[in-house]
Every structure is written in structure tokens, then in C-alpha cells.
Symmetry: C2
Subunit: 343 residues, 2 copies
Amino acid sequence: MSMRIQEKDLPSIAILGATGVVGIECLKLLAERNYPADKISLLASPRSAGKFIEYLDEKLIVEDTNQDSFNEKNVVFISAETQVSLKYAPIAVSKGSLVIDDSSAFRMNKNVPLVVPEVNPEDIFLHQGIISIPNCTTTPLVMLIYAIEKLSKVKRLVVSTYQSVSGAGKLATEELFNQSNDWLQNREISSKIFPYPIAFSLIPQVDDFEPDGYTKEEHKMINETRKILHNPEMRITSTCVRVPVPITHCESINLELSDNLDLQSIYNALDSMTGIEVLGKNNFEEYPMPFNSSGKDPVFVGRIRKDLSCENGFSMWLASDNLRKGAALNALQIMEKAFSIKY
Amino acid sequence: MSMRIQEKDLPSIAILGATGVVGIECLKLLAERNYPADKISLLASPRSAGKFIEYLDEKLIVEDTNQDSFNEKNVVFISAETQVSLKYAPIAVSKGSLVIDDSSAFRMNKNVPLVVPEVNPEDIFLHQGIISIPNCTTTPLVMLIYAIEKLSKVKRLVVSTYQSVSGAGKLATEELFNQSNDWLQNREISSKIFPYPIAFSLIPQVDDFEPDGYTKEEHKMINETRKILHNPEMRITSTCVRVPVPITHCESINLELSDNLDLQSIYNALDSMTGIEVLGKNNFEEYPMPFNSSGKDPVFVGRIRKDLSCENGFSMWLASDNLRKGAALNALQIMEKAFSIKY
């Protein structure tokens, strides 16, 4: 880390959804940066207002969200229900804040940049008050594609996801643990957040269905990838599956390239990409998993191998902490770029 | 079920590996068929010899396996370590038994039929004493391909698996539950069967690695599919992943077809295939999962939709109880065909 900039120059931040899984992760990341406590406001629903959350050596109070919550805030991170983003983002913008939004509310709006700083940082500066961060499955995937496209156009992508429950929030995570415990104690299992039991099972549905039989999550991956890469024709298909894992999304990825690359070129392309770490170059038995990727910043890629079923094909596997690079870290990095912050 | 054949005409069966997950499942299936207890011998290692296993209203004793175990057995089911198959299958054959083997020991041997009775029943009668059953990920996949290929050639397949731990045996299943319990109790987790923790995580490795970066499991899926379908050129690639689920393997499947089919034709093709059940035709929210597929005989297929990323593409999702159709049921059905048994 380079020279610390003056504290007074650091933007004043509000975190709306401060008690949620992403809000908490955002605070952890700010603490890692030693961000001054007096520059951070925590906002939530009335239900959580008045709670204290530990931050560095202090306790920050959670405040109820209202029209005045955004006064003199340079940046507002929103990670809550979509309706919360729809309601408060315009208010925050009207107060002069830069909103960095984790919901799908504005992502496909043509006036809202959708940004992964390693991929399309220039889009940050086109914002009109709101910048969206991509869905937590999209972010690591576009980083991988972007790295590889420095060498060869990606002709087609087939992706299957293995998504952790924290992508569905805190109550979903509790549901996994409660159901697991009930199963192990031979008690009946009840599902409230997910449509079916998730403990010791899988649910091949993330978000609601569209009339074409895809889920919204699958459409998000496809459409957001195209928008971030400025490639509206990109051929990509995805199947999104919830797995009984608390944190870290994994993806099984098959790519067809335009050019005939060797494995070493793929390793090099991915290795030279900021934010990506390649596993298994010298030992196949090293690969990313939720077990070794959770709580870490990089997108980990492994199991990279030639696919012999098509010309110029490769298969690979990635793991990415959905609360970090998939959400809070990406949001924070956007702020850091937007305000040229180097700690 | 049609007229019961004379009990005396039913083949005499030995189950080698009777105390394993597949052996136990085999006994359950025989009990469902009311198969006479005096036609069943249970064989295992010395460690399990002397144990009793309940079967219908009786208790069957588990015997140690030796040269004489196969005398006067018409059929020997083997589901044990590969070395056990390699050691005992030739002995059983020399005694005149038909060996139906669940290991990978003989599957790719050109003198050994590899059979899914709904797909290549005619191969049963080419046996020279041993018939292999496919890997538990291969069986449901070839059923699906076979059904669709009645309408159109499958040009290419991309498969990602979500494989339950019981595919790795009883101790692996215990490891999942023990680790899950330890996690929930905040105790340290230890891994003995799997190379890394499986509870609340994923392991993108099933079986050992080959020099090309694929696992043996992935090669098995590819090679066995080609052998069963008598299509050595079939273009298929697979990524095999272990998930923290006790029973039932799932697969995310993307197919490119030669012809332009509509969704209804795919539904019809799959629906008319014995052993396959299609979910979600009228309600997208119905799809197969371990939760609703375990303990059942059919291969369940759902999430069927057009893939717009390639010409004539479809994506779908299957779930199949790996101990039933993936192992014991398929083995039993081979015996029933070989001996023309109708209960």
C-alpha cells in the first residue's frame, strides 16, 4: 500500500443495509483499510436501528434510513432489497452522493455504468449518480473472460454455477445451518427462504423464472456479462444452482476460443490479470473450493484444461467469495477508483 | 408387474460388498421384488463376516469371501473396491456365474459389455461371463442422450456434475455428516476419505487425476458414454464435482443437436423413454433435486430450455439416485433381462 492520503480527504460513506451479509463484509473491508470510523454511517431498516456494530476499536450505531440519511455523504453503498435501492438511490443522488448499488434495480439501465474495476474502470466516470455492481456470479466470470480475450476472442461460453446461500442473505444462511442441524438431529426440516430444503440437497433455481424457462439469475449473468464487456452479441449460456455452502460461489466454465491457444498462454493470461489467482499449475490437486477461497479477495481459477470436444476449447473452474469480490470488495474498489483513493 | 415366475427358476444371487452402500441398496430392491431370501448370499470382507442384515422377515448372515463363495451362484453382483472385482470376478466366472460388476475394472474391456438396459440391452447377450455397469454419472446421461438421439444426433455435450458423497461409499457419507456436525458445533473438521473438507464446501475432483488434467471420473463419463452408445467419436466434455449431498447425483447438461427441434419434441422424446421422468413441463418451479429424487428409481429431467448461445442447443438438468439407477437398480435390471425375469 502506498502513502496514506489525508483522512479529511477520504469520502464520507453511508452503508445502507449495514446489518446484512454484504454490509457486514463491507465494514470488514473498511476495517482492513483502517478507514476512519467518523467517515462511516450505518443505515438499515427501523428493525435494526439502534443496534451497535463493532468497528476497529469503536462501536458504530445503526440508524434508521430516511430522506436526511444521505446529507453530506459522498458515497452511499446500497445492499438491500431491490425496492430499497429503487426508493433511496434517487434520493441519495439528489443530495449529491455517488450511489454504488448492489441490487439488480439499475444494472441494465443504459445511464448506469455496471462496473468491475479490473475490466471496465473507464465506465466509472460515465456515471450520472449511480454505479451498479454486477451480480456475484457475473463479476468473477467477466474477469476471467476479459483476461482470456486479451489473447483470443471467446466464441461461446457454457457456465454452470454452484452458488452459496449467502448470496440470498443472512436468513438464507441461517436456514442452511438450521436445516442441517435439524437433519443431523433427525428433526423435521422447514423451508422459509428457499422454495425447497437446501441442507444436504441442491436447488437448480436462483431467483424467479422468466417465461423462456431461464431464471432471472441466468439472464443476469448473460446480460450483465455482455454489458460489462461491451459485447452485446456474446454467446453465453448459464445454469444457476444453489448449493449447501455458506460462502463462495463456484462456476464450471467451458469456453470456445477463436484461436488455438496452449495451456501455458491461458495460465499467463489469467496470471497477469489483477485480481485473479491461478491454482494447479504445477499440481493438479490444488484447486479452488469454498473451503480455501472464502474470506479472500482474489478470484481463484483452477482445473484449467484443454477441452477436446470442440476446436480451441478449454474447461476451467473458478471460486470467488460472493460477499467480497462478488459484492462488497467490488463496490469498495469502485469508490477507490472514483475518488482516486490510495491508502 | 406380470405373473410371478416360479421361485425355483429364479437365479441364485451372491452380493459381494453386501455391507456397502450399493450392496444395501441392492438388498432393498430385492426386497421390493419379494425375492426369496434363500436365493441370496451376502459376501464381504472378513471384517464384516458374521454380521446379520435384515431382509424381509429374515436375517441374512454376511459371509467371508473365498474361492468357494461362488459355487452354484447364477449371478454375482460385485460392488466393492476395484481390486476386489479384479480378484473375484474371474473366479466367479470360472464357476459358471454371471458377474455383474459395479467397478471400473472391466468397463472398457472390449470383451465386457457395458450396459444400461434401456439403452443397449442387446449387449447383455454378448457377455463372456462379466457385464459391467457404468459409472453412476454415466448411466442417467446416456439414457437422456439415447432418448434425444431418436430425434436428432447430439453434436456436442458439455456436462458439469454435482455428485453426492455416497458415490464414494459409506465412510464418505459418514465423513460428510461428521464434518457437518463438527462445523455446527464449532469443532475442528478432519478429512480422511476426501482430500479436503466436503461439509459446507465443494470438491472439484472425483477420483484421481490423469496427465491431461482431467480426472479419471471425467474420462469415465466420456469413454463409457461413447462405448454404451457405440459412438466412439461422440463429442462430450465433463467436469465432475463432489457436493455435500448424501445421495443423488445431479448434472447440468448442455447439448448441441444436428436438427432444429422444439421444446415439445424434447419433452416427448424424454417422456417416451422408459426410466426417465420429466418435471417442469407445466410449472417451471418443479424440477429434480436430491431432496425429491433420492430413493426413487427414475432418472428425473427438468429445467429443459432452448439455449440461445448456439444453433439447435438445449440446456437441461437431471437428478438420479446414484445408488439406485446409478448402481444397484441398473445391475438388477441387467440380471432381470439376462434371465428373462418378470415378477
